[in-house]
Amino acid sequence: MPISLNRNKVRNELVKRIEEISAQDVFQCYQCGNCSSGCPVIDYMDISPNQVMRLAQLGEAEMILNSETIWICATCLQCSSRCPKGIDVAKVMEAVRSINLRNRDGIVKPDREDIEDIDELPPIALVSVFRKKTG
């Protein structure tokens, strides 16, 4: 299905929220791809970091929220240090994760008995939850 564009969708509420939480302007991105070329875990992602930025520009925030990429991201900050436009891409990733975690309140409980489940979760998700719970 092609992406359907219209002026209400570009810069929609969800995109604005990502921008607000991360304090980054996704429209600064000019798609050079330096974030993706430096990313050490790009081979394990379903969409590349620059595509995350691109989809945000096109108003397709749902696609980002549902991607594997945001959970694969190890927040190593390679992308943020490389970006020629000074965008903190890792913060954008973190913002998307936060939105997801807030939406699915309670899916991870550190005091859960089923330890195996916790083992299968991406470590970054656990870190985020702990940070949220303990912060």
Binding site: P2, I3, S4, L5, R7, V10, F27, Q31, L58
Partner: protein, 650 residues
């Protein structure tokens, strides 16, 4: 017998690495025709030239061969040195042992042998060289500028400012070209009219400038420094000296035609002034649509013209001018929109061209600067700007990049956003080319702050559904297809040479490239000169370019023309063709062969004569002549056969 000296250059290691220069020197020392031979690291250096000059004096040489790089590089260096030492410069020959020897061979043995052969052929030629002096001709100190857009205007101003007369020819009724149609110019967003009209006024007030509008160059005869130009001026049905711009005529004129200045978005009368600041400031009658030429049909404007400026019986005139230099500034047109049927131009009124959008944005345009779409006058809330319409499509349209569309489309989006703050511009592009001072910053600012959404990918098709234009495209950056319902579409049409450039170039024997643009003498080092002597190029006639580049090129062309106009005489190489009248049968084959029109058949004498100034020494006539009557100075058949003999024997 000539005393010939040979100087072998090492060119650092460029020659020495592959050619054994010592061996060449030692072996050629025994050559019967060589009086003196030596080698040196850089012959073109000052010490190298001194070596040559001293040897000429000390060894009493009367001919010199320098075995070095291509004659296109240092021939004049060595010829000047030879003159300084008291010899005629045509007694100096270059043996090219670099480009034609050391650079193209690997084996030292073979290259050394070849270098020796090349030097010997140069010696054989030099033995028979005549001493020559440059041909001179006087200069008519006036210039012709063809085209009254920003390129022609700038060139005319520069030449007139230097104190020389300029004859300016413009096809349309006013100066201004396409620049006068533009709204604001990137990247500074200056109002185009505001910066152009002062220059137009300057041209019109300058006593050194003679302006012919509604005119075209009909024919050019002569040669550099001495052109005779025939200019065809359309009938002046309104006398510009009498017209007082009262506008009574156009009020009463019953004929409506699409307004060219408004790119067809408005109507004008058959008697009209193209735009309020037109230069010359006069109404003009469009002969093709005026009914008054038939006395029975109409005559309304003449009836109301109190200034009695209208004369339906005026005739086309031929004006003759003499000039020394010609500047070509014939400008561009847009690639025909009809060729892009998939984008629906012509079928849907809300699919418009970039120049039409310039008029819509312009404060003096058909909508007084408000962004309203042509079909129903609504303010469009979503506008698609499509880059590369015709450009960079070698298979179906134009192979080249039109260079300015990325910038003006970004500017369009920006200006649209200024006028419709809640609107959304979308720019469909294939690459963003924003090379230029403050250009990329301009585009980035539009993306970051003006909410312009760039979408990388060509649009496949556009069709109408209800009152929306449905655009099918792709975003190659995310790999997703894109669909958009736009209220209006602006096509960034590619640039082509202005209509009639081809015939004009043929008439003047100027070269045009595959793309139809005028060809410069050298793409890097002679970008404002034509290969035809005395012609200079400015602006988009030579290729797509923006206003700053056009102005620079126009000033460059003017400066080259001024160098020509400020000399008392022009000089021309004496290496030209001659005719041996005893052998010439007057067959005239060479006349047809000559690409420079330098030959003429003298029917009374039955022989062909050469115009020394026009002859460029190409040699076409020599190979064409069946009676061996044509010879080129210092490239005679005898010289060439002596050279060939040496090559054949080795």
């Amino acid at each position: 017998m000539k005393r010939i000296g040979v100087f072998v250059c090492h060119c650092g290691v460029n020659i020495k690495e592959t050619v054994d220069v010592e061996k060449v020197t030692v072996e050629l020392k025994k050559h019967p025709d060589i009086t003196h031979i030596e080698n040196y690291m850089f012959m073109c250096s000052d010490p190298g030239q001194n070596l040559l000059k001293n040897a000429i004096k000390e060894k009493k040489l009367d001919g010199v061969v320098v075995a070095a790089c291509s004659p296109t590089l240092h021939e004049s260096t060595f010829r000047n040195a030879v003159e300084e030492a008291g010899l005629n410069q045509y007694q100096c020959e270059i043996a090219n042992i670099r480009e034609q020897c050391s650079w193209v061979h690997k084996e030292m043995k073979d290259a050394t042998h070849k270098a020796k052969v090349i030097i010997q052929t140069a010696v054989a030629k030099l033995k028979l060289n005549e001493s020559l002096s440059a041909i001179s001709a006087p200069v008519t100190r006036r210039a012709l500028v063809v085209g009254g857009g920003i390129a022609g205007i700038q060139a005319a101003i520069d030449i007139a400012d230097a104190g020389y007369e300029v004859v300016m020819v413009e096809k349309k009724p006013s100066l201004g070209g396409h620049m006068i149609q533009l709204s604001e110019t990137f990247p500074t967003l200056d109002c185009s009219q505001c910066i152009l009209t002062p220059k137009m006024v300057q041209v019109s007030k300058d006593e050194n400038v003679k302006l012919h509008v509604n005119s075209e160059v009909e024919a050019v005869e002569g040669y550099i420094g001495n052109f005779k130009v025939k200019i065809k001026q359309k009938a002046q049905l309104v006398n510009p000296d009498l017209c007082n711009l009262c506008d009574d005529c156009s009020d009463i004129c019953p004929v409506l035609v699409p307004d060219e200045h408004e790119e067809g978005l408005a109507w004008r009368k058959s008697i009209f002034i193209p735009f309020p600041q037109a230069i010359p400031a006069t109404f003009t009658i469009d002969e093709d649509s005026c009914l008054g030429l038939d006395p029975i049909a109409c005559g309304k404007c003449k009836d109301v013209c109190e200034a009695e400026a209208i004369n339906y019986d005026a005739k086309t005139q031929i004006i003759e001018e003499e000039v020394g230099a010609i500047i070509i500034a014939t400008g561009y047109d847009l690639y025909p929109e009809e060729n892009l049927a998939e984008y629906g131009y012509g079928k849907y009124p809300d699919v418009i061209t970039s120049l039409q959008f310039e008029r819509i944005l312009s404060a003096t345009g058909p909508t007084n600067g408000e962004v309203r779409r042509p079909s129903d006058g609504k303010v469009p809330k979503e506008v698609a700007f499509i880059h590369c319409c015709g450009s960079r499509d070698p298979d179906r349209h134009l192979s080249y990049c039109s260079k300015i569309c990325c910038m003006y489309s970004s500017k369009h989006a920006k200006l649209y956003k200024h006028k419709v703050p809640d609107g959304q511009p979308y720019n469909f592009y294939i690459d963003i080319r924003s090379g230029g001072k403050q250009y990329d910053e301009f585009v980035q600012q539009a993306m970051e702050e003006e909410e312009l959404l760039m979408i990388r990918g060509k649009v496949a098709r556009i069709y109408k559904e209800n009152d929306k234009m449905i655009i099918h495209g792709v975003d190659t950056l995310s790999g997703k297809g894109v669909q958009l319902e736009a209220d209006m579409v602006v096509l960034a049409m590619g640039i082509i040479p202005s209509a009639g450039t081809d015939e004009f170039a043929q008439k003047l024997k100027l070269n045009t490239g595959e793309d139809g643009f005028m060809v410069e003498a050298h793409p890097k080092l002679r970008p404002v000169e034509s290969i035809q002597a005395g012609y200079f190029l400015a602006g988009t006639a030579q290729g797509p370019k923006d206003i700053p580049e056009t102005v620079s090129q126009a000033s460059g062309a003017a400066s080259k023309a001024l160098a020509l106009l400020s000399s008392d005489e022009i000089f021309h190489s004496p290496i030209i063709a001659t005719v041996d009248t005893d052998l010439c049968s007057g067959c005239g084959i060479c006349v047809a062969t000559c690409p420079y029109d330098a030959r003429e058949l003298n029917e009374a004498e039955g022989v062909v004569e050469v115009n020394d100034i026009l002859c460029e020494g190409c040699g076409a006539c020599i190979s064409a002549c069946p009676s061996n009557a044509c010879q080129q100075k210092n490239f005679t058949n005898r010289q060439l056969s002596e050279m060939i003999k040496i090559v054949a024997a080795n």
